[in-house]
Every structure is written in structure tokens, then in C-alpha cells.
Symmetry: C2
Subunit: 240 residues, 2 copies
Amino acid sequence: MPNPTAAMLVIGDEILSGRTRDANMHHLANELTRTGIDLREARVIADDQDTIARAVRELSTAHDTVFTSGGIGPTHDDITADAVARAFDRPIGVRADARALLQAHYDRAGQDLNEARLRMARIPEGATLIENPISAAPGFTIGNVHVMAGVPAIFEAMLASVLPTLTGGAPLLSQSLRIFRGEGDIAGPLGELARRYPQLSIGSYPFQQDGAFGAQVVIRGDDGAAVDAAMAELSAAFDG
Amino acid sequence: MPNPTAAMLVIGDEILSGRTRDANMHHLANELTRTGIDLREARVIADDQDTIARAVRELSTAHDTVFTSGGIGPTHDDITADAVARAFDRPIGVRADARALLQAHYDRAGQDLNEARLRMARIPEGATLIENPISAAPGFTIGNVHVMAGVPAIFEAMLASVLPTLTGGAPLLSQSLRIFRGEGDIAGPLGELARRYPQLSIGSYPFQQDGAFGAQVVIRGDDGAAVDAAMAELSAAFDG
């Protein structure tokens, strides 16, 4: 059975303007690979209701699971929850349990749960909350979409509580070989190897080191014996 | 007149599996902001012909300019040129001028221009070449799509030769203020400011430092006087 598929939606003008460098995509990619879920696509889009709602609809239809990051804070540009509610045609409003989490958090901090902060308790109808152990404001899951924070520490904490609820496939096994030859020299035999092991993914990633060109060849698949066999052939052809 | 819009397509399984961290998106975002072109969307997709062709068609229709990175090397998993040719319904084959560039490069290096390397001279009909000062294999422009290498040094060199050919709008001006208050405390006044300056984009980016919460507020726009005025109001409200 093929692995479940996933997509990621990074929401935020600050990434597209170059102000901030996204870090969550790389973290999610690694965690999903470990879990046996294939990340098939990642999109970075702007803080715009229509854009977000359309992308959520499209990706949640095309994939088993969708993860979003960003846009769930208290300020006027945090519009992800409303856009996701719209994507699923659900009403949205302040929810009592989410409000209670925030109230407890701000009471402890001696701060006021004002109107802006209360926006973070707006949850689409029918969603399940995702715990935020760092700053209380919860993420949520609706349908197959997990809506999480953009701040990396909070994104990672939320992902850690979502992942165990998902069913992964066979974790991807991978072996790699660093070959100090130009990619053009190894491309022929590599293509041949890929044809003989159609169940594996064989990738070649060029690098430059001390002025010489080389390639890191990575063989991936969930069939460990095939990965071993293909790597043995590759090593025999290019080692030493 | 609104600025021209752009989209980026990052092509490569290695990013989606977490093996490699993409660096080109952040570089492109910064360069486009400086040039006055709005990067509206960035997608990371897998090395798959149909997926690439579909995304190229979709993004090149929706935006003024599209940039792709990755998948133009000599190995079997380098299929970007063929996929882009398909997206534009153009034939593709080895082109004499591209072949001559490669021949000269490999002659200088005392290496063989073999069948695999010759794949890098496959260019869709009607495309213009993009110079590669590092390893010779050219990128190309077809319609409004600029097809460039994934290796960051080469991507950056290719982008540097493409950017002067594009017409930008007014470069985005930006000022920012670091406020040591929780986002929830500033969200109200910030939303009010955003309503009074609809021509500006006002973003709030939370941070945590020494256990205290704060927010970096960034005011962006192409109207310098408005950016100054809004920043003066913001500083008066939150400074000291």
C-alpha cells in the first residue's frame, strides 16, 4: 500500500517578502519522512482570505493530510482561522474551552485577556483543539487539516502532539554515497540503476568541494533489501 | 499601478524529504522585494513530469513572472526542461548553441561531453538561454517562465542576469519597530493603525527573548511619506 500523502501550507507575507526565512517546512519534511508520510507539496502564500481558503480546499482534497503554519495570533493580519472556516463552510466564533485556556494562561501571567487576545479563541465549529504548551493559544484540527502556529518552537510542539494521531506507512529507508566524479560521468549508470529498481527513488545531488565537482547519490525506498542491493551495485561501480 | 507579480516553483524530492533545505526561495524573495516585484506564491513540488507541467501552466497564467529552481542537471531525475516544454506545448531537443557552450566547457576541463551531459543542452523551441558562468549548462526563459538551476551559487548567478531584463514597480519601503510587549497588548492599536493606512501593509511578528514576549512590527509600502507617518504614530504609542 502506498504511504499516505501530505501537503504543507505556510501562510505569511513575511516569508514572501524575504523578511523571515521559513524554518517549519524543513522540520515538517524530516518528521513526516520519519513517520512514513509522503510530503508531496509545500506552498507559501500571502495573508489573504481568498488565497488561503482556496489553497486549503485544493490541498485538503488532493492529499490525506494538510498542515498549515502561521496566521493564528492576535493581530489584524492573523486571519488563518477565519479562512479555514470558510474553506470548510463552517461558522466560527469564540469557543468556551479555548477561551478558558487563554484565561488561565493570562491570569497566571497577570495579563489581561483583551479583545485582541480573545481572537485566538476563535475556532471553527466541529474542530478539535491542538495543545500549545508554550503560549496557550491553541491550534486546531478540522477535517484533515491541522492548523498550527508559525513561531517555530510552537509549531514543533503542536506537530509533536498531532503526529502520534496520524497513521503513517512504512518509514522511508535511505542510504547515500558521496562520489567524487562530475554528475555527468555518473548519470548514465545511475539512470540504468533507476530503471532496474523501479520501486526505489534514486536521487543525485551535485556539490562542489575544493574546486572539484561531485555528487551525493541517495537511494530511498521502504524495501530495505532492495535499498541494500542497489547501494551495493552503486558502490561497486564507483567506489575506489 | 500595482507592482508586477511573481511566483516561484522549487522542484525537487530532496527538499520534500527533508534531505536538503531550500535556500533559493529566501534569496529570490529578497531580490524581488528590492526590485519592486511582488512574490505572491512559492511552491515546492516533486520531480514528476505531470506535477511540474501542471504547476508551470497554473502559475504562469496567474502571475507576470515565474521562476523555477532545480531539475536541470544531467541525471535521470532532471526532468524540468521536458516538463516545461510540455507545459508550453513546445517540442524540445538538443540545441546547437547550448551544445557549443557545454562542448567548450568540457573541452577546457578535459572531460567528455557524453550523452548524459548532452541532456543539459535540451532546450524547448523558442526559448532564450540564461547564462551559467559557473558550470556552463544554461538555464532558459520561455514565455514568462525562467528555468534556473537548484545549486544556490548557480541559481543566484542566473537570477542576477535575469533580473535586469524585468520591469519592476516601486521598490517596497519598510521600517520596523521592536516592541517589548505581548502581541495581544499591541494588537488593538495596530489594527486601528492598519485601518487608517489602507495603502500600507502592517505586519506583527512575535518573538520571545529572555523569557519575555515581544513583537517586531514592520510597516511596508511604496509611499515613503505614509510609511514615515505611520511609524511616527506607532513609535509615539509604544516607545518608552
